[in-house]
Every structure is written in structure tokens, then in C-alpha cells.
Amino acid sequence: MAKELMKGNEAVAEAAIRAGVTAYFGYPITPQTELLEYMSRRMPELGRVFVQAESELAAINMVYGAACTGRRVMSSSSSPGVSLMMEGVSYIAGTELPVVLVDVMRGGPGLGNIAPGQGDYNQIVHGGGHGEYRAIVLAPGSVQESVDLTVLAFDLAEKYRSIVVVLSDGSIGQMMEPCELPPMQPLKTKFPDWAVTGSEGRDRRFLSSINLDPAAQERMNFRVMRRWQEIEANEVRYKEYYMEDARFVVIGFGSTGRVALSAVRAARAEGIPVGLIRPVTLNPFPTKAIAQAAQQAEVMLVVEMNNGQMLEDVMLAADGNAMVEFYGRMGGVFMLPEEVLSEICRIAAGGLSTEGHPRDRWLNRSAQKK
């Protein structure tokens, strides 16, 4: 199929449509709004459901209701809006419903700004809503990958009755790139045996996240956690670049991973043996791949557009086998390849201090720069 030049947010919307999304519910927020606008145009055209909700709180609960019918449903938002959705996300997880959510992250905390950020990592990967649930989290690094991961998101959501978050950011959402869209899938006509559709011809069903009996709730939690083990065993995805002989390994996700790749290429051109691991699934996290890399690497450099959130997961995976360094930008300031390159050069030059936490070393270095 021919490639089309598309904006990230619109490409995600079209990919979702082609993956057979039956209903979309959302609320405007920059830098995600084009997704909602695109849906407002395309969904009615196809006879599908589009509702602009009165808030993200309502949007996620409309998604909750629609997901109960067993159809493919989704919402999208950006950081502050996603925060507002968290109660509903937990309910959806507690009801074991397949739902796709797109978070086009921006600078924060608070209202922050509309520039790209990655500060929602902890919220999305390590919880966000209350209670013990896990969400599958996919982190695209390009418009093409946004398309591919959106389609995958619907499949994984259904396969595991799970929430799947496509964790994008303002740069990927806003940029235009050529991409190949998937073929149009027909809408589902068969629905799972848990779907609430009206009880005609069968016994009644109900869907809820309530479980007043702690023992029963614990059994449910065990069941879901065993399913999570299956997800960990089968769904870890990551990309490796220049890893064969790498003595230094950069680790970054999403747009930062992509920026890091430019820096790694430039460092290779200077003869520095550096590689890159770009986690594509942030949950389940590519812990094994990183643990393995820690065996071969002298130093691992984690780069993120936040205050060092994935950093903690990398440190756990590295388990002291390699030194871990961190470099971050925050508040919506975009990381440039030159910055990552100069970090790689600093590390390759050796003589690094191992005092304290990598985040503190980074904070101290950035204080000295000023």
C-alpha cells in the first residue's frame, strides 16, 4: 500500500478506525486534539459512535460503558486529562475490560504546557489509578510505529481483557511523517461471552468491579496477576541498535529513544562503541534484555524527558552489573541529539563518579552547568 503523509494524532485515529474501533469518546486537550477532531469527522461518516464528552471523567466512563458491550472502544487525551480518567481506568481494569487509551504526553506537572514530555511514565506504567492492576503500555517512536502499535493495542486489549495505553507525546502526535496505514478491518460481529448486550435468549450478565468478599477479590487479583505473567512472557517488545560490541548502552523510549538513536549513530561515527535499547513495551518492561545488556556494558545511559522515571526500572534490571547514568529534560523541553551525544562522549571518556543515585549525579551536574 502507498505511504501517506500524516500527522501522528490523525494517523493514530485512522489506524484505530481501520482496526475496527466502534466507539470513540474524548475531550479536547492539546497536543492530542487532532485525534478527537479526526474522529468527529470520520466516525459518523462510517456510521460509528463519536461523542465529545463533557470531561475526561465522563469520556472514560462512556468508554467503560461501551466496552461492557464487547465492542472495540477507545479514548485519547493528554497528561492532565489522563489524570482525570484514572478512577475510570481502575474500574475498567477491575472489570477486566479491553480498552485502548492514547496518552499524548505534555510538559508538567499541573497544567504545565503543551510541549512534549514523558512525565507520565510512572503514572501510566506503575499505576495511576488505585488498586493493584497493570496496564499494557506501548511507546511509539514515530508516526509509523504509532499506527502499528495502535492496531496492536486493540489486539492485545482483547487477547488479555486488558487496558492498553499507547503512550505517545506531543512531538510524535504533532509531527507529520509518511506512514503506511493498515487495511480496513470489518467491525466485529461476534462478541465475547461476558458482553452485556441485553439478556434475550440467555441468562442475564452483569459487569462490575465490585467484590465485597475480600477472599473473592483476592482470587480475582491472583487470576489477573497470573494473566500478567503470561503477558510478561509473551509480549515484551523492544528495539536494539548497534548492540553487538557495545560497551556503552543508551536506553530511551518513544521520541527520546529516537533522538538517542541519532546521537548513537553520531557517536559510532566517532568510533565510540555505543548501542541503544529502545523499549517498545514499557509494560511489560524489557527487563531481561536490559539485564543481559548490563552484563556486557560498562555504563548504561538512561535518557528521558522527565526526572528519571524509567531510570528506576533500568536500575532494577541492571541490578548493579553495569553503572547507570541518567540524563533528562523536563517541563516540556525537548531533548536534542547533541545533548545525548555529549553525554555519550562524557561517559566514554571515563573517570565517572559513582557517588550516590544517578538522578542526584545528574542534578548535581546540571546545577554546575548553570
Partner: protein
């Protein structure tokens, strides 16, 4: 003897088919059970059992799904109208209703109910107003009357600091998207009959595709009010009805003359 008893026994009361044969968790004297039964009777009479999807809310009626023999989902506190919107938009041929308390509908869920009505969402809402937060033990609700004592207005609701009750039905009836908004009561047989008619009308509105319908039902909460069931019925009649007048606030012309 046998002949005689056959003559004497005439069944005047039956458990509705859509009403599951279990005893409810509601307190003695609580009108949630009455409201449930009326809804189940109407579902039966209209032959809607297999087509209906209920949306339970958070409050004493959180377990409503245990009592209706229809498909059910259960929403987070206040979000039932949003959840019902999601269900109804995907399954427009189904009859979708929410069942919400006054804390759920008129406090934490105010935005959702207002906007579901404003969109003319084709759902029916049954709104139980018992002037307090029953499930959490009787705290002040948006509907608590001025001067009324609750566990969080122990000296009586002081309107200077705690504001005035919300008349949700009157407010919602001002929205163009709302087609049927009425208030009824459950304190005596006559009121209960009228309440049932209103519930029926709400479903008729939905089936005709006329949009949003809401029936507010003035209800009792004997346990948290600290009254006997009979005292509660009198308290409702003497205190709630004057503040929350019964009546029709909005009736779509297409159903104005409806008789059943």
C-alpha cells in the same frame, strides 16, 4: 373445604418476572425496594426484559444488579449517565436505564447528569432522593433539607455555611435535551401508583426515541433518619414534599396525551 379455599384464593400479587427471587439487602422501611419493584413491573408489562440494560450507581443501590433479571453494569460514583451513554450509543436498540441516589446524581455526578440530559441522551434515569448519603451512614447530601440533622450536619444543615438543597429535576428540566422530567413520591399507595406510571412513561419516551427521561422518586431512609418506617413515610410527606414539590417539570408533547 378444598372447594372453599379455591374460591377464596385469588392471586392479587406476584413477583415480577424481571425481579429476582431473593431478599434484598435494604433496611426495613427503605423505599429502594419499592422503586425496584415498580421498575421490574414496568419492564414486565412492556415486555422489555431481554432488551433492557441497567446501570447501577454507587450508593445503597450499588447491588441493584442482584435484583433485576436483566443485563446490568455498575458505574463509578456519579458516572452512571456517562456509562449509560456508552452502552446506549453502541446498542441504540436496547433500553438503558440508570438508577441513582441523590448524592450520586446531584453531587458527585452533577456534570454527567446535566450533560446526558443536554445531549438528549436516549436513556431513562431513576433518581432516588432520600435527602442523605445512605450507604456511607447518613451524611449531608445536596438534597438535605435546611435544618435537617445528618452525621455531617449534626446541628442541622446551616444554609449560611452549607448552602441550599439542589432541586435537580427542576434544574434539568430547563435543558432543551430533556424530554420527560417529573418528581413523584413513594410514601403512600396513591403516590406509588403515580410513580409507576411515570416510570412507564419514561420507558415509553425512550422507546419512541424522544430522548432523555428522568423520574425523581422521593424516598425514605429510616435507618439514617433514626425513625420507624411509618414515621419516615410521614416525615417524607410533611417535610420533603413541601420542599421538593411533586409534579411534571417537562413533558414532551409527543407523550403528553399518553394513556396506559
Amino acid at each position: 373445604m378444598e372447594m372453599n379455599s379455591q374460591v377464596i384464593e385469588e392471586q392479587v400479587y406476584n413477583r415480577p418476572d424481571s425481579f429476582v427471587d431473593v431478599s434484598t439487602h435494604y433496611c426495613p422501611g427503605c423505599t429502594h425496594g419499592t422503586a425496584h419493584r415498580l421498575i421490574a413491573e414496568v419492564i414486565d408489562e412492556m415486555g422489555l426484559k431481554g432488551k433492557t440494560i441497567g446501570v447501577a450507581s454507587v450508593g445503597c443501590s450499588v447491588f441493584a444488579y442482584n435484583y433485576f433479571d436483566v443485563d446490568f453494569v455498575q458505574a463509578p460514583h456519579g458516572r452512571a449517565p456517562a456509562m449509560a451513554t456508552g452502552v446506549k450509543r453502541v446498542l441504540p436498540e436496547r433500553v438503558v436505564f440508570t438508577y441513582q441516589g441523590d448524592g450520586d446524581l446531584a453531587s458527585i455526578g452533577t456534570a454527567e447528569i446535566v450533560h446526558a440530559a443536554a445531549r438528549g441522551e436516549n436513556i431513562s434515569v431513576f433518581f432516588l432522593n432520600n435527602t442523605n448519603y445512605g450507604m456511607t451512614g447518613g451524611q449531608m447530601a445536596p438534597t438535605t433539607l435546611p435544618g435537617q440533622k445528618t452525621t455531617s450536619s449534626p446541628r442541622g444543615r446551616d444554609v449560611e455555611t452549607q448552602g441550599y438543597p439542589v432541586k435537580a429535576s427542576e434544574m434539568i428540566s430547563t435543558l432543551d435535551g430533556a424530554s420527560y422530567v417529573v418528581r413523584r413520591s413513594l410514601h403512600d399507595p396513591k403516590s406509588i401508583r403515580l410513580a409507576k406510571k411515570a416510570i412507564r412513561t419514561a420507558f415509553e419516551v425512550q422507546i419512541r426515541g424522544l430522548g432523555f427521561s428522568l423520574v425523581e422518586l422521593l424516598s425514605t431512609c429510616s435507618t439514617n433518619w433514626g425513625m420507624t418506617p411509618v414515621e419516615s413515610m410521614h416525615w417524607l410527606e410533611n417535610n420533603m414534599v413541601p420542599y421538593f414539590p411533586l409534579g411534571d417539570f417537562k413533558v414532551h408533547p409527543a407523550i403528553a396525551g399518553l394513556r396506559f
